[in-house]
Each structure stands twice: as C-alpha cells, then as structure tokens.
C-alpha cells in the first residue's frame, strides 16, 4: 500500500465527504489486517453520522468494534494497540468528547515516543466530527482542533473536500505518528469527485484553491468553502482574492502561505474555532515574524468564532462563526484600506 499513486491515472467518481471516509476505511480494512475501527455505535448503527455505514457487515465486529461509552479508556486502548502493532482508527462521536480522552491523547499518544527516547512510535488515527450549524448547542458543536494542534507529537488535519479526506485518511494510516482528523459535520453530505482505489494526499501541505492578487485568505475546513464563495462575490467588486486551504494545522505549511502573502501583501485568516488564541493567531504570527512581513501592506485580519459557547438559537449559532457576508465585508474593508 506504500507506493505513491498518480491520481491522474485513476477513474474518478462523485461521492460525498462521508462516503469518501468510508471508502478509505474500506480500502484500509481490506488490505491491512492491522487496521481496526473503534468507536461508539459504529457497528450495526452505522455511526452517529453514518460514516462507517455497513462496514461491520463486511469486516465483522472484531475489525469494526463498538466500544462502551468510555472515551478515555477507549482512546487509551487505541494507543496501546497502536504501540504494539495494530493500526487503530478511533472515532469520537463528537469532537467535544475529546475532552474526556485528553489524558490519553496529550499525555500518552503525543508523548510516548519522545519520553521513550525515540524507541517506539504510536501510529494511532483518531477522527473527530466537529463544528457547529446543526443546532446541537454548546457541548456538541465545538472546534477544538487548536487545542490539539498546540501539542508537539500530534499531527492535526482538517480536510475540506471528499477528495482530500479520503486521501489524507489513507496517508494518516501510513504515518507512524498520531494523526487527529477534524471533520466538519456540515461537510459530510457535500459532494466531490474522488479517485477510485488507493491514493494519498500529503499531510503538511496546504493547497491554493483559488488564485488571486489582492489578498490572501487562509482558511480551514468549512471556512474554505465560505471563503471561496466570498471570493466570487469580491471578484464582482473588483477584488481578486487568493484562497488557501490549509488542510493541515499541525504542521502548518509555511511555504504556501508565505509565498502567497508576498504576492498579495494582505492576509486574512478564516476559521471556525474561537478567534481568541486560535489557529489564526498562529498563522498571523508565523507570517509576521517571517520574511513575508516586509511585504505586508495592511494589518493581518483574523475572522474566527466569537467568544461564547455555541448557542442553540439558529441565528445566534450562525452569528457565532464567520459567514460569507461577513467575510466579504471584512476583506473588502481591508483591501480598500479602511482597516
């Protein structure tokens, strides 16, 4: 499963984001006996977001394991299994429940290799359905990827398209270190063209989704799509925005971002996680302390989640995270020199 594949040689088929994840897991389960899936209700129930679907019927309960409601213990079992030769993919039902497993993720998975002087690796993959917009309120709507991205020893990715989520999950299974995948719930039903069969998308590499000259928008996950929609609007007003899909937030890809900022001289970060102390702060600081600083012609702007738990009321819920209109207005103000 290791040889790199040129996706241009593969047939593509349209599928949804969640189907793409399932496809990746199907390929992995079918070709590597070390791969097992673990999570709550991923068996006959098919997974809370119907991602695993009917995989249990194909591979059996020993490969697609329903766990008790034990996030801490379950994540730890995944760590122990990865440490000793399996390739577990542990699904959290909601990213918010990562909090219950923080001990095993942060103190164990991220650190065992280092603490043991490099003698071992922990090739565990953990998947987190994340984000707001489903009316699930504060404890089921968070974007906590920045918490985990803060921890050395972990890799954290946020694929935004069906093509990328399949390829990056397959890449994660090749990675000897812990990979945390944050999947925005509202992306599960979005569709895209996906190559059939095995291929990988690199971890640690951002992608320019739309080229532009007046401003660089760096976005993650669902905000990539909102930023692209905003860029269309901005184009009508004569503003040419370049949109970068960061894809991986630990490690961030500096080259792609810096090259873009040098070209456009303006930077806006758009992300759903809370703006304060979030991923945008990290990107902004990275740019401000780099050679790209000399090319900035305007302050760096961050558009992120507001400083409140996600509310239940749908209008408040929308108002708590960046939306297309807000992105358009803020970027326009920035480019017109009003900020």
């Amino acid at each position: 499963m290791n040889a790199p594949v040129n996706t241009a040689d593969l047939e593509t088929v349209e599928m949804s984001y969640s189907e793409a994840i399932k496809d990746a897991m199907d390929i992995a389960l079918g070709s590597d006996e070390r791969v097992i899936l673990m999570g709550e209700d991923i068996g006959v129930y098919g997974g809370a977001f119907q991602v695993t679907g009917d995989l249990v019927h194909k591979y059996g309960e020993e490969r697609v394991m329903d766990t008790p409601i034990s996030e801490l213990g379950g994540a730890g079992v995944a760590v122990g299994a990865a440490l000793t030769g399996l390739r577990p993919i542990f699904e959290f039902q909601f990213s918010d429940f990562a909090t219950l497993a923080m001990e095993q993720i942060v103190n164990q998975a991220a650190k065992v290799r280092y603490m043991l002087g490099g003698e071992v690796s922990v090739p565990v993959v953990m998947r987190f359905p994340a984000g707001s917009g489903t009316g699930a309120a504060a404890q089921h709507s968070q974007s906590l990827e920045a918490w985990l991205a803060h921890v050395p020893g972990l890799k954290v990715i946020q694929p935004s398209t069906p093509h990328d989520v399949k390829g990056m999950l397959l890449q994660a299974l090749e990675d000897p270190d812990p990979v945390m995948i944050f999947e925005h719930k509202l992306l599960y039903k979005t569709k895209g063209m996906v190559p059939q069969g095995y291929y990988t998308v690199p971890i640690g590499k951002a992608e320019v989704r739309r080229e532009g000259t007046d401003v660089t928008i760096v976005a993650t996950s669902i905000m990539v799509h909102k930023s692209l929609a905003a860029a269309e609007e901005l184009q009508k007003a004569g503003i040419s925005a370049e949109v970068i899909d960061l894809r991986t937030i630990r490690p961030i890809d500096p080259e792609t971002v810096l090259a873009s900022v040098e070209k456009t001289s303006r930077l806006v970060c758009v992300y759903e996680g809370v703006k304060t102390l979030g991923i945008g702060a990290a990107i902004s600081a990275m740019v401000a302390e780099s050679h790209a600083f000399d090319f900035l012609d305007a302050p760096i702007l961050r558009l992120g989640g507001s400083d409140n738990p996600i509310p239940y009321n749908p209008e408040l819920e929308k108002a708590s995270v960046p939306q297309v209109d807000g992105i358009v207005a803020s970027v326009a103000d920035l480019v017109k020199g009003k900020i």
Binding site: S265, D294, F295, D297, A298, G337, I339
Partner: protein, 423 residues
C-alpha cells in the same frame, strides 16, 4: 564598586538629553542629593542630583553633549575606593548640539500622541511594504501623505508620491526642518560679518512644529475690533474688591482667557481638532496661553478654563508663566490644549495673524487696545478703547461661518462681560 551616574529620563518621550551645565567637576567631592548637573530638555532645564556620596571621576560627558538616557556620564567613588576606570568609562556617542537633527528631537509640545520613536520610523505610520518600496524608489516617507487609517502610508501612497510632489509646491516637501537655507554660506562668500548661535532643542521644536503647521494646515483669518471699556471697568471693580487681600490683581489678559473659554463653551464645534479620519471634539476648553521666555516661546495650558472662576485662572496663569520662564514646566502642562491665545498688545502691536498650534484648530491674536473715536447709537463720535483681534482658523475643522460665529460670541462676551460670569 563605584556608583554609576546616568543620564536620567526626566521627561515623557525623552530618548536623550543634553548636559546643560555641570555643577561639580572631575575629582570634586559630592554629597548624595547635591545638585550634580543640569539637563536641557525641550522646554526646561532639569537639575540632576547626585546618587551617592564620594568623589566624582571619569566624567565622560561635557557641557553641550547629547547623551542617550540611561548612559553613564560619570562615576562616584567612595572614600578609600580604588579609582579605576569602570567598564563603559569611555566618552558616549555624544553629538554636540549644533548638529542635532530635528527629527531626533522629542516633539514635546505636540499634543498628538506620537511618541519619539527610536526605531527609525520617525513617527511615520507606513506599512512594511510601503517602506520597502519607498526605500527602493529613494522616496522620503516623511514627504508622503498616507491615505490609510491614522494617516498610514501604504504602497499605493508611495507609488503616487512623485506625482504628489509635482502638484504641491516644492516647499511643501521640506517639512523636515533640518534643511539649510545657505544663509551662512552666502554670508561667508560675501564676507559679511556675522556670528552663529547653535539651534537648541526648544528652537528646533518651534521651527519644525510651526513650519509643519504653516505648510500643512489650511489657515484662514477673521478680523474684528472689540471695545474694551466695559471689560476694563469690570476689571477695575474686581481689583478694587481685592484691594488689601493680598491676592493677585486680575489682568485684562486673564479676562480675555475667560472670554475665550466661555465662547468655546457656547460654540463647541469650534473646540475641536483634526485627526486624520476623525475630528476630536473636546468637552472642555483647554486654553494654551503663549508665554514669551528667554530664547523662545512656551504655551502652557489652562485646563478646563470654562469652569474656573477668574481668580483661579489668574493665579494659574501667573504660576504657569513663572514656571515657564524658569524652565520648570512638566510636559503635561504644555500639551493637550484645544485653543490658543496670543497677546502682543503689550509690545504695541496693533494687530497680527498668529500661526495655529497643531492639533488645535484656532488661535486668537490680540493686539494693543488704543483709544479711538467710534460712532455711538446716534452716530455721534464717542471715545472707546478698541482692541484689534485676529482669529486664525484651521479650515479642515472650522469653516468661515463657524469661525465667524465664535468670533462674534467672543466679541459679545468681552463687550458685555457680566455674561462671562454666568455658567
């Protein structure tokens, strides 16, 4: 260990100071707390006390030297201590006063919140890209006007700058006052007899601020004649009431300040400052009063003058003027004015047009009150004491009509002074 004597920071926005005078010299004994040397700042000369007792050695800065704050200028050795040059006992990188570049001068009189920056930006707001392009094109950023918020210069502004220079007068580019006019060179060439005086801090600050004011603020002037008789009568009554109390006499100038404050309260739109993308409207009338001092001019501020009674104003002015002359004003006392008053009447000046003190929007220039014949209500001549005033206005904030309304109010208050005493 010898005690280090440093050049202390004694003023806001101070990055260096000039040694005005040493009270003690190499080898002399000093006592802790004794006056050691004087520092010349923009507006005052400050005395620096000795930090310890002992003998003064390795005095590395001399009178007239400009020294960065925090740098050692001498050491004090205790009795019996071995007198060995400590590390750093080499003359500081002092630049002697005549070569002072005005853009290094602390803009102490400016009320705008632009601190002296020691980072090479010279207080100019420009984006990194603008700086880069300016450097590449050899454009002086201080000559570029910024279109961004708070006057920020962007790349577009720099790229447009050469075109700006074509339109504006060449003189507009020279806000940087360091420029030589060639006067000395010409005098030398022609063999004229002359002497030179180094431009000191205060002089250079006046030069740069007022050049900037004259060349960037769109001035216009409104003139009026005001009859002083009623005011002078009231003044005489006030001072007669104060007779024997030991209180200071009220002057005409004190009353004019009160009138200005009251007029600003009545016409608040004129009590404002231009600030790039906003206009700052002050809630109170802070009157800067021009005081002539040795070698220059200071404008201490009477804060919230509209709510102070005439005696308070009078005492404050006297105190501020005295301290201004002896160089003992703190920088807070000559910043933050919203209006200026300048009175040259005592010199026999009939009238004049004053230059606005930025960021204030108006300055009232007052001339001498002289006896003249004026028509009364019946058209018959009557003798009155008439004073000519000229109001300079910043057209960005104060339009002609607004200035006129203010001036009218001022004249009303002076000619009917009882109204000034009301709230």
């Amino acid at each position: 260990m010898p005690i280090e004597v440093i050049l202390p920071k004694v003023d806001m926005d101070m990055s260096s100071g000039t040694i005005a005078d040493w009270h003690k010299s190499e080898g002399e004994t000093v006592e802790e707390g004794e006056a050691l040397f004087d520092i010349e700042t923009d507006k005052a000369t400050m005395e620096v006390e000795s930090p310890g007792t002992g003998t003064l050695h390795f005095v590395t800065a001399k009178q007239g030297d400009e020294v960065p704050i925090g740098q050692a200028v001498a050491w004090i050795f205790a009795d019996g201590e071995e007198v060995v040059a400590p590390a750093g006992a080499t003359p500081p990188q002092a630049t002697s006063a005549p070569e002072q570049k005005p853009d290094e001068v602390a803009p102490a009189v400016q009320t705008e919140a632009q601190p002296t920056l020691t980072n090479g930006t010279n207080g100019t707001r420009a984006t990194p890209l603008a700086r880069r392009v300016a450097k590449k094109l050899g454009i002086d950023l201080s000559a570029v006007s910024g279109s961004g918020p708070r006057g920020r210069i962007t790349r577009a502004d720099v790229e447009a700058a050469p075109k700006q220079a074509d339109v504006a007068s060449p003189a507009a580019q020279v806000i940087n006052v360091g420029g030589k006019t060639g006067a000395e060179k010409t005098a030398q060439e022609l063999g004229l007899s002359y002497s030179t005086v180094p431009v000191n801090k205060m002089r250079s600050v006046i030069a740069s601020r007022l050049t900037e004011s004259k060349s960037t603020v769109p001035h216009f002037y409104l003139n009026a004649d005001v009859e002083l008789d009623a005011l002078m009568t009231m003044r005489a009554q006030m001072n007669s009431a104060l007779e024997g109390s030991g209180a200071k006499k009220i002057s005409v100038n004190d009353l004019l300040i009160k009138a200005c404050a009251a007029a600003l309260k009545a016409v608040p739109e004129a009590n404002a400052s231009w600030d790039g993308d906003t206009i700052v409207k002050y809630d109170d009338a802070h009157i800067s009063v021009a005081v002539s001092i040795d070698g220059g001019l200071v404008t201490p501020v009477v804060r919230s003058a509209q709510s102070k009674d005439i005696q308070t104003i009078s005492a404050e002015i006297a105190d501020l003027a005295e301290r201004a002359k002896s160089g003992k004003l703190s920088s807070k006392e000559y910043q933050g004015g919203s209006f200026s008053l300048s009175n040259l009447g005592m010199f026999g000046v009939k009238s004049f047009n004053a230059i606005i003190n930025p960021p204030e929007s108006m300055i009232l220039a007052v001339g001498q009150g002289t006896k003249q014949f004026v028509p009364d209500e019946q058209g018959n001549p009557k003798l009155a004491t008439v004073m000519s005033v000229s109001l300079s206005c910043d057209h960005r904030v104060v339009d002609g009509a607004l200035g006129a309304v203010w001036l009218k109010k001022f004249k009303e208050l002076v000619e009917n002074p009882a109204a000034m005493m009301l709230n």
